[in-house]
């Protein structure tokens, strides 16, 4: 008997993605789509595409989509969600989009605890415009606008978005994950699903930060790019949960206690 072990999710359209080989965007698209499909909310999902390499997100996600101005996803999401509170609203954004030009919208939507989900692709670079420095570019990392490597003197320190937002009372769920190996991909999907579930429960602001490979603008092969995630990015951007609801914490503790007893 044949058994289906993998199927292309119906949460994505048939349009071929234009991402470079080894790019993290495509993987994350699939996970986001699988999550709204598995939650059975495809027909009540409204996604917001950014300006960045994923500007074509409106062609890929098989749900209602809107593409807005660079960095303004959280404001657009706010407008949609306040008018349609029972819809699942997600804003898909890169690091330049979210943490640089859109930093104010990010902070204030988190502060207001808008009941939305931000899918944040941190690839430490401006992919779309050809590899300029991002607010998340690591110290020493070369880009077309930091050709000898990012320095503190010229450019300051990279932003850690989850840690920054964890200083606010507003966020309900903040987690940083990666997509550098199958286990990490599974974890990322869980994180996205949890964020969506919290939103559907009406809990408030959720954000999943995904460390994502950009082989093209890092000038590495896909395998080397994965290596860089592990060697350089994860040490500076530690993976983990930075905020979660109290009941989730309690449930986890109880589970650990039960496991210890048995």
């Amino acid at each position: 008997m044949e058994k289906v072990v993998f199927e292309q999710t119906k949460g994505l359209t048939d349009i071929p993605m234009r991402y470079c080989p080894g790019c993290g965007h495509g993987v994350v698209h699939r996970l986001v789509a699988e999550c709204f499909m598995e939650l059975g909310v495809q027909e009540k999902t409204i996604g917001i595409g950014p300006v960045g390499c994923s500007v074509f997100a409106d062609e890929y996600f098989n749900c209602d989509m809107i593409q807005g101005a660079h960095g303004r996803g959280p404001a657009i999401a706010t407008g949609i969600k306040r008018c349609r509170p029972d819809r699942l609203v997600f804003s898909y954004q890169g690091d330049g989009d979210l943490a640089s030009i859109g930093a104010a919208e990010m902070l204030h939507s988190a502060m207001r605890s808008e009941n939305i989900t931000i899918i944040f692709i941190n690839n430490a670079i401006y992919g779309m415009t050809g590899g300029q420095m991002a607010p998340t570019t690591l110290l020493g990392m070369k880009s077309t606008t930091s050709p000898s490597g990012r320095t503190v003197e010229a450019n300051g320190y990279p932003i850690r978005v989850c840690e920054l937002l964890a200083a606010l009372d507003g966020p309900v769920y903040l987690e940083r994950v990666s997509v550098d190996k199958p286990a990490a991909v599974v974890k990322t999907k869980k994180a996205i699903k949890r964020a969506f579930e919290y939103q559907l429960e009406g809990r408030g602001f959720t954000l999943v930060e995904i460390l994502s490979q950009c082989p093209t603008d890092w000038h590495l092969t896909p395998l080397q790019a994965i290596e860089k995630i592990r060697k350089d990015l994860i040490p500076y951007y530690p993976l983990g949960i930075y905020r979660e609801p109290e009941d989730a914490k309690r449930a986890k503790k109880e589970k650990v206690a039960v496991e210890k007893e048995s």
Binding site: E43, G68, R72, T78, R84, R87
Partner: protein
């Protein structure tokens, strides 16, 4: 209905918008329009609507981009510097054909300028304002009552043509109190059909997409031509104006908004002295009511433009008259407010052959 109340201009436009079905407002404080967000902050929740004090004008306009994409009647308001910040978002709304409504209670500029009434944002309002080839419908009220009643028309046109509409007023109109009658019954937006384009969460076969880009060769050019067709239809069908005493006029005074009131009072004073003064006032600044100027341009020798800016409005008058009449201009930028007597005195001089205020073609 038809009850007459005394209202401030800023409150009148806010109440007018709510009665016209507005259920979402986002804005950022700036003088002289603060009464609008203040009013909305308590009034919208009464109707089950949403008020958000946004973190910036940029955020506010993008909240509107989102809220209008699901078919809600939305509003934002600001004054000059804040409207400048909103222009990228307005351009996106124009391209994505989202029916937003916003007000600019203009103050003196450029820069931080001052908080005095001004008409310095005429070019910005009537030429689109942000990047790219687009237009927005611009209404210029001259009374508080018009501020109260224009929002209904603004929403009607915004949804009919899928186009941003704005109201261009100034601090005098925003701050002064006048009697107001709302000339329409309040509209309950839940009784209106959700337009087919509005996002809602759709079946995948009919999924809806709202966007403002097309990178395929030639497609954005087609998009622009499609928008142009709509703009041409609006130019043909929607210009609005007021014209008084134009048939026997030796001179026509013209201005919009507060300047129109000044022209009106100069005309009234002048007529008492037997001077044959007429008056034209555009109600829509875009589409500009060219036709009324064209009708009279071969009959009336002199046009006298009064504006609270440095020669912006006069450009449209020139284009409409096309060199057929003499044009005179009185400019009072950034807080200068002309009076009826002042304008009448200048009118007398012009009628007696004084050319100092004449503008070149």
């Amino acid at each position: 209905m038809a009850e007459r109340t005394l209202m401030k201009g800023n409150e009148a436009v806010a109440e007018g918008a709510v009665r016209a079905g507005c259920r979402f407002f986002a804005g950022y404080p700036i003088t002289p329009q603060n009464e609008i967000p203040e009013y909305m902050s308590w009034r919208l929740p009464e109707e089950g609507g949403t008020f958000i004090q946004a973190e910036s004008e940029v955020a506010a306009i993008n909240m509107l981009f989102g809220a209008s994409s699901v078919g809600t009647r939305v509003m934002t308001s600001s004054s000059s510097p804040g409207i400048s910040l909103k222009q990228e978002g307005v351009s996106y709304c124009a391209a994505a054909e989202l029916p937003i409504f916003y007000t600019n209670i203009v103050r003196g500029g450029p820069g931080l300028g001052n908080i005095a009434p001004s008409q310095g944002d005429y070019f910005q309002a009537t030429r689109g304002g942000g990047h790219g080839d687009y237009r927005v419908i611009v209404f210029a009220p001259k009374t508080v009552e018009e501020m109260a009643n224009f929002p209904r028309t603004c929403y009607e046109l915004a949804f009919k043509y899928r186009i941003p509409t704005m109201m261009l007023a100034d601090g005098i109109l925003g701050q002064m109190m006048e009697p107001v009658t709302f000339e329409f019954d309040p509209i309950d937006p839940s009784t209106l059909d959700l337009p087919d384009w509005a996002l809602r969460g759709s079946k995948p076969e009919k999924r809806r997409v709202i966007k403002s880009y097309d990178l395929r060769p030639g497609k954005m050019e087609q998009w622009n031509f499609r928008l142009e067709k709509k703009y041409d239809e609006i130019r043909e069908k929607e210009p609005r104006y007021e014209a008084v005493n134009i048939d026997d006029a030796d001179i026509i005074l013209t201005g919009y908004g507060t300047a129109a009131r000044v022209c009106e009072s100069a005309m009234a004073l002048g007529r008492k002295e037997g001077l044959k003064i007429g008056y034209i006032r555009p109600i829509t600044l875009w589409p500009f009511p060219k036709s009324v100027f064209r009708e009279v341009r071969d009959k009336v020798e002199k046009f006298f433009v009064v504006e609270m800016s440095l020669g912006q409005y006069v450009e449209d008058v020139k284009l409409s008259l096309n060199g057929r009449s003499e044009i005179y201009l009185h400019k009072r930028p950034a807080g200068g407010i002309p009076t009826g007597e002042e304008v009448l005195e200048l009118t007398r001089k012009i009628l007696s052959g004084d050319k100092t205020k004449q503008v070149e073609e």
